[in-house]
């Protein structure tokens, strides 16, 4: 699968995250989190792992995390990726 178009998933509500994607030649993940200091590394690892499982190697991901738990984050990553991979 490959990100073919712009897409978004999630929200800016507390305990959620909002993720936007757009096509890009390489894989770029930009993360902004209210718990960056404490969980920044884990958040990145969870996103990279999810993308790896889905076979995504390119695309620009912009993640705005409002304290989402691991499962929520992974679900949002999956959803936005599927939306971004759909036919135009």
């Amino acid at each position: 699968m490959k990100i073919m178009k712009e897409a978004m998933a999630g929200s800016l509500e507390s305990s959620d995250c909002l993720i936007m994607v757009k096509p890009s030649e390489k894989l770029e993940i930009e993360i902004e989190s209210i718990v960056q200091k404490r969980y920044g590394k884990q958040i990145r690892a969870a996103i990279e792992e999810t993308l790896d499982e889905m076979g995504i190697t390119s695309g620009y991901y912009k993640v705005q995390d409002k304290g989402a738990i691991d499962y929520c984050l992974r679900a949002r990553v999956q959803t936005v990726t599927r939306r971004g991979c759909e036919e135009q």
Binding site: E6, A7, M8, S11, L12, E13, S14, L18, M20, K22, E32, Y60, K62, Q64, K66
Partner: protein
């Protein structure tokens, strides 16, 4: 846990529009005439929070005091971002007062500039960094670079004269075209007519203005001309963005503008440029407009002639390329639009 319902406030329904106006007035806010869409959060039947949208700009945020701790702004912003994505608009701006800057920064918005007490923030994909990167592709090193920002609705001999005058005072001239499509001649046509009208003049680069030079985000008052005190802060915001992003990206040291004898908004804009550019080390040069038969040539004049069906004297105001376009089938369609609009305004 509170259960609030999110609903559209229908601006075309008079009672709802009045209710929204009343709600905003409680917070000292006005409902701008360019607002296209408005959403509200209701607690039962009571409206407790609203957000308005004009193009990709979110404004008119208000949350009732007793609901402030519930962070309703994030629900409103999330919904608007979602709606914009559905319209294939992947970024949004917030135009707000200085004191709310941090609130929106906490929602992922990035501060990009200010003017007076107004601040502009943005979020989403393709922000100001992409704009700068795109400009830098056209950058010219080791030359004296000037710039002139133009709408050209449509391109006239007056524009050509300004460009030639400006070009005589610098080595490379950037013509930055207002990209916002709220003029009668669409952006693609305005751009094409500029390119054709100046093709014999060397060392001119034509640049798209994007969202950051006289757009509905930076300078809404330019498109909805009104004499009010907001014009000043909007003009200052626009000029500040030019100083902060456009000028350094293109290596610009001079900015030119035509003198403005008629239009209030443009004359305020010229004054703001004169005050602010010099402070930032950019020279500001106002050039007196070209006259034809003792009258200043302006695009407004051209549109008025089209409206009056006076095509015979148009060649005194526009170059051949513009005239050919106006007489083409595509140009005729635009002429019809002009006539329609001016009749509605009672100016034709």
């Amino acid at each position: 846990m509170m259960f609030l319902k999110l609903m559209d406030i229908r601006l075309d329904v008079k009672t709802q529009r009045e209710m929204l106006k009343g709600f905003l007035a409680e917070f000292g806010l006005l409902l701008d005439e360019d607002v296209e869409e408005s959403i509200g959060l209701y607690d039962g039947k009571e409206l407790v929070a609203v957000c308005c949208r004009s193009g990709k700009v979110l404004k008119g945020f208000a949350v009732r005091n007793s609901y402030r701790e519930h962070n309703l702004t994030s629900s409103l912003v999330s919904e608007m971002i979602r709606r914009l994505f559905d319209k294939r608009i992947y970024k949004s701006f917030v135009f707000t007062r200085q004191k709310y800057k941090e609130k929106f920064e906490s929602l992922g918005y990035r501060f990009i500039g200010q003017g007076g007490s107004a601040v502009l923030l943005e979020t989403g994909l393709n922000g100001v960094d992409e704009y700068i990167a795109r400009l830098k592709e056209q950058r010219s090193e080791g030359t004296v670079n000037g710039s002139i920002i133009m709408n050209c609705n449509p391109f006239t001999l007056g524009h050509r004269y300004l460009i030639k005058q400006a070009k005589s005072m610098c080595e490379v001239l950037f013509i930055i075209i207002v990209e916002e499509d709220s003029s009668l001649f669409p952006f693609s046509v305005r751009k094409q007519l500029i390119i054709e009208g100046i093709k014999d003049i060397p060392d001119i680069k034509v640049v798209d203005g994007g969202d950051y030079t006289i757009s509905s985000a930076t300078f809404p008052g330019y498109f909805f001309k009104k004499e009010n005190d907001r014009i000043y802060s909007e003009a200052a915001l626009d000029v500040n963005l030019f100083i902060k992003y456009t000028a350094p990206a293109l290596n610009i040291s001079k900015r030119f503008a035509g003198s403005e004898p008629f239009d209030y908004v443009t004359s305020v804009y010229n004054n703001v440029m004169r005050e602010n550019l010099v402070k930032s080390g950019i020279e500001f040069i106002e050039i007196e407009r070209l006259k034809s038969d003792d009258r200043y040539i302006s695009a407004t004049e051209v549109r008025k002639k089209i409206c009056a069906g006076d095509f015979n004297s148009l060649h005194k105001l526009v170059p051949e390329s513009t005239l050919n376009f106006i007489m083409s089938p595509e140009g005729e369609k635009i002429s019809e639009k002009i006539i329609h609009k001016y009749r509605l305004l009672g100016e034709c």
